[in-house]
């Protein structure tokens, strides 16, 4: 029993009309793992979640929870609970009644329900709110009740459907930390869907980056960030500058043909290239680095901790973050340098 995965998705496929929303998705979630499905809208992450929860039926593939197949079971017979984006609390029931609902549906003894509800509310730090109605709660409080409601049932898998997207920034950060804390404390298995990569990175055991219904890469957050498997993953995670260069006969030029003062430690072959570097790995005025580009400063932006310097080299645009006072003025020609390890090039 200890060895079976909490959840297994095997070649899952679902199409709506002519659009394939989930395309051959396979993931194994071990007990206690927190797996995030990360991607832009239309990537299939929500559709996958709904397949797991039982709100849609897959066209092909299998879903196993604790080793047994569930894809033919309707939502109310699966051992999963979902935390929805809008909370979806029952407006005509009190907080306590909401939290108790799942327990009642599963036939838990009446005597046991009240203490478990109380405990669940304690865990999400809403003790004393039992008799309130959802209309009397703030957005963050509603989501915490939704959390309690889904967790009190102790399902094999918790499903999160972008639960923080509707909240404002400070609340989002606060609840994000809470969910992380709860996971560390209780150790539930979860599938978390979001388009916010900061959330994904901060909360997950593993991140699955999705695009057009397929998983492009699934790995620990650090690995996805440092070793992106594809151009899409690279550009989706974190910020990056893109240098589009045409290389021919050993010289680099921009898309209009104007020559670039580009210096590369490992020269690139013929053709059109896209070179990516994270702005945090670009350095101003460093001719000592193995790679470099000479560019003209266009303007600077004040971002609080750093200034963001926006450069132009021909048709190329890139930006560099630099702390401290502004060291160049618009129009200056500056040498920008970077390490070879910090760059990726795609043709």
């Amino acid at each position: 029993m200890a060895d079976t995965n909490a959840l297994e998705l095997d070649g899952l496929r679902r199409a709506f009309g002519g659009v394939v929303a989930v395309d051959n998705v396979s993931v194994d979630v071990r007990r206690g793992e927190f797996v995030t499905l990360l991607g832009p809208s239309g990537s299939g992450k929500t559709s996958t979640l709904r397949l797991i929860g039982g709100f849609e039926r897959p066209d092909a593939g299998a879903i196993r929870i604790n080793g047994s197949r569930v894809d033919h079971l309707p939502a109310y017979q699966r051992d999963t609970t979902t935390i929805f984006q809008t909370g979806a609390l029952f407006p005509h029931k009190t907080v306590a009644e909401n939290v108790a609902y799942g327990l009642r549906m599963r036939g838990v003894a009446k005597a046991e329900i009240a203490p478990r509800v109380r405990q669940a509310l304690e865990v999400v730090r809403l003790s004393g709110y039992e008799e309130r109605y959802p209309a009397q709660l703030s957005g963050g409080q509603k989501q915490r009740v939704a959390l309690a409601r889904s967790m009190v049932v102790r399902p094999t898998i918790l499903l999160f459907d972008e639960p923080l997207s509707a909240l404002d920034l400070s609340l989002r950060l606060q609840l994000r930390a809470e969910i992380r804390r709860l996971h560390d404390e209780i150790g539930f298995s979860a599938i978390y869907v979001t388009h916010d990569q900061g959330e994904a990175m901060a909360m997950s055991s593993r991140v699955a980056v999705m695009r057009s219904g397929r998983i492009e890469q699934i790995d620990r957050p650090e690995k996805v960030f440092a070793e992106p498997a594809s151009e899409f993953v690279y550009t989706f995670i974190g910020e990056s500058c893109c240098l589009r260069a045409q290389v021919s006969a050993g010289t680099a030029a921009d898309s209009a043909g104007a020559p670039l003062e580009l210096r590369l430690a490992q020269p690139l072959g013929e053709g059109a290239w896209r070179i990516y570097i994270r702005p945090s790995r670009l350095h101003l005025g460093r001719t000592d680095m193995p790679n470099g580009l000479k560019a003209r400063l266009d303007f600077t932006e004040f971002l609080g901790d750093v200034h963001r310097y926006h450069f132009k080299a021909g048709k190329l645009e890139l930006f560099v973050d630099h702390p401290g006072a502004v060291v160049h003025k618009p129009g200056d020609a500056v040498d920008i340098g970077w390490q070879t390890a910090d760059m990726v090039a795609y043709k």
């Binding site: 709506f16 009309g17 239309g42 990537s43 929500t46 559709s47 039982g54 709100f55 309707p74 939502a75």
Partner: protein
């Protein structure tokens, strides 16, 4: 919002297929049973009945004849009733829509605190039975009614007057009954219009009258059509109000049907008249539907 979520089909639990397909029909079975057993079947029955014969005192004799329909063409009472019904429905609908329009516009323009009172007022005719309405006017129009008394005692006229059993009284009654429907339809249309549009028109130099013709009227065309249709369809089928308040010669088709059934016990003829009336209503509904969809196509 869940991207890539389900298509038009609602996301019910996908249990075994057959149960999913059967459920909606189970849910609708009481409604369907009523609609079919008490509407569909009777209409079909009436259709068959309209071809039966009527001999002596029995309700009907099974047979097949076009006599009942032919009677409509030859019978002067019927064609008179047809003309009367059309005339009545048309004029009362126009009046009702006109009054309802102004009423709705007023309520729309007035500040919020008046709204509740006016809506309560507009609801009154709906909450009162038609017979009570008829009787109310019955006590207002005759010689000894309130109208006469009020006019005489205020010195406007010298002799008692009766407007009872006049076409005017019939119109007053008919309009009264259909007014609330028109009002509410038009009010909801008005509510869909941003009041700032009126300000914009004034700002650009439009007088109230111009604003009305160029801005308000075009925007409310749909409402006018819908409420007219509603009113007309109802008025075509009515018989109680005109026969009670209007002159004895004001026979509507509805009245004739009732007379054939309860008075002359001639079921086949009553059925035939009903079929004609029903078809007429259906045709009118379809025409209006075509006209309104054309209009929306033009408006884009």
């Amino acid at each position: 919002m869940s991207a890539g979520a389900s298509d038009m089909a609602p996301s019910g639990p996908r249990g075994p297929g057959w149960r999913m397909r059967l459920t909606p029909w189970l849910l609708m079975s009481p409604a369907l049973l009523i609609a079919i057993a008490f509407f569909g079947l009777p209409i079909a029955f009436m259709g068959r009945m309209s071809f039966n014969e009527h001999v002596d005192q029995r309700f009907y004799v099974p047979g097949f004849t076009f006599d009942n329909y032919a009677a409509m063409l030859t019978d002067p009472t019927f064609s008179a009733a047809l003309w009367t019904t059309m005339r009545l429905a048309l004029i009362s609908s126009i009046v009702t829509v006109a009054i309802g329009y102004v009423f709705a516009m007023l309520v729309w323009l007035k500040p919020k605190r008046w709204r509740l009172a006016f809506i309560a007022l507009a609801l009154c005719p709906l909450l009162i039975s038609e017979i009570s309405i008829i009787f109310g006017w019955w006590m207002f129009f005759p010689k000894n009614g309130l109208l006469s008394y009020a006019l005489v005692s205020s010195g406007l006229i010298t002799d008692k007057i009766s407007l009872m059993y006049t076409e005017f009284a019939a119109f007053v009654g008919l309009t009264y009954v259909t007014l609330p429907f028109c009002f509410f339809i038009l009010l909801s249309i008005f509510d869909g219009i941003d009041k700032k549009v009126l300000e914009a028109s004034a700002d650009l130099g439009g007088s109230p009258v111009r604003t009305f013709y160029e801005v308000l009227l075009p925007l409310t065309k749909g409402g006018i059509a819908a409420s007219f249709a509603q009113s007309f369809i109802w008025a075509v089928g009515t018989y109680a109000t005109p026969s009670a308040l209007g002159p004895d010669t004001l026979w509507t088709i509805g009245y004739l049907i009732q007379e054939q059934m309860l008075g002359k016990h001639n079921w086949p003829r009553a059925a035939a008249f009903s079929i004609v009336l029903t078809s007429g209503v259906a045709v009118v509904m379809m025409i209006i539907r075509m006209l309104t969809s054309k209009r929306t196509a033009l408006n884009g």
